[in-house]
Symmetry: C2
Subunit: 231 residues, 2 copies
Amino acid sequence: MFTSVNRKNLNEEISDQIITKIVTGALPCGSKLPPERDLALQLNVNRHTLREALRKLDALDLVSIRQGDGIYVRDFRESGNLELLKYLLFSRKDITSDILKNILEIRRFISPEMAYKAALNRSDEEAKILSSLLLSDLTIEERDLAIHQSIARGSGNILYIFLLNFFNDIFREFGGLYFSFKENVAASDRFHRSIVKAICNRDGNAARKIMNDILVYAENKVSKYMESNYE
Amino acid sequence: MFTSVNRKNLNEEISDQIITKIVTGALPCGSKLPPERDLALQLNVNRHTLREALRKLDALDLVSIRQGDGIYVRDFRESGNLELLKYLLFSRKDITSDILKNILEIRRFISPEMAYKAALNRSDEEAKILSSLLLSDLTIEERDLAIHQSIARGSGNILYIFLLNFFNDIFREFGGLYFSFKENVAASDRFHRSIVKAICNRDGNAARKIMNDILVYAENKVSKYMESNYE
DNA sequence: TTGTTGTAATTGGTTGAACCATTGCACCAA
DNA sequence: TTGGTGCAATGGTTCAACCAATTACAACAA
């Protein structure tokens, strides 16, 4: 009914503003930012507030800060990380659709292998968790996230877990559209049951194929939605 | 000959200290940190210095900070990102070897597809850059990074670029060992020439296979080094 | 008792001024 | 050319104070 207001701290506003200037090229890589004291004056905030914003830019690997020297803009094509990509996805609406397709494509190479490994490496406890998720009263969206997460943990590869966190951050934002179609809910439901079965049976090849199939299916659907919405 | 001294700001020392407490479980997820004023007192730093450290924890998705309420530890298994993984890799020496194997394994699923896409999507300019890299006077390590980067850009998928940045951050740290062996330098040299050729010829399947072969080779080598060093 | 309201306490957010530590640079001397 | 010296610029840290959001709780009303 109502949408939550977008409440931001000053330091977030500032970091957003600078990030935008960097990724749009208004602040070219290699360029030097004004001294903190000057920049704070220009932004009309206190130096401390600016410094907190700069800490975030630093954590995003967007700038390099050197005491006694200054603040330099890094080349985000060389230093950018997935956190920055998340930022681009949510803030630059003009390229959201392209980035989303990119992400879906790569997930299709990663997740089937994750499922394969999970089928081979899963603990008995993880199998129990997976089975119980099928019977839980979570929404389809929550269950989907939980099952993927459980599979990632079962794979025994910590990078899968953290990559999945990235994917989940994305799909929490965009998953609503997908699951608003009944046919997709039904497809996910079938997928959940079959992948859990394959993993519990330690059938790696089946798990890989099942995961691949649902991702191909989802990718096609999402592509269609985006074409009809954005073009 | 000499190694650069590890110089840290106070706010970095603090964030490191808190991160360690979180990932080791000393600060369990869901728990509430002391108020900033108290915590600053305990850490013997000013509140502003602490706040800058907290900004970093926030950017790493490790804590959730709410004005008027407090600072809560998030579940890093659910929220952790690759930046955190990088941190774990460099700071927790006891699990470095496992994480490194995890990373190499996933790179083996990702990079061949990246090479395939690059062969199909590359621009003529990117092909020129690749060819010129073969003739450059970079060290083998620098050239290796540059070629992978060029391939990622040629693929046309921005996620490849940012994932590669992650891999490169890792290998800048650990690549020295690998390239200290002459046989590996020779193998990379052959790899560089053949992958560039395949991509320039727009031969996607060849590019994928060549990339896969070198990664399998490297993964085996690194595994051996780690077994002999850490066990 | 139960629910509401108002108030105080708690806690993160912001400001301002001052001083410390590091760096870069111009200048000088050997 | 090389190394030292001092100054100015700039990020790092501290202190003290106040603003703003949230929570806890007492007081009150139904």
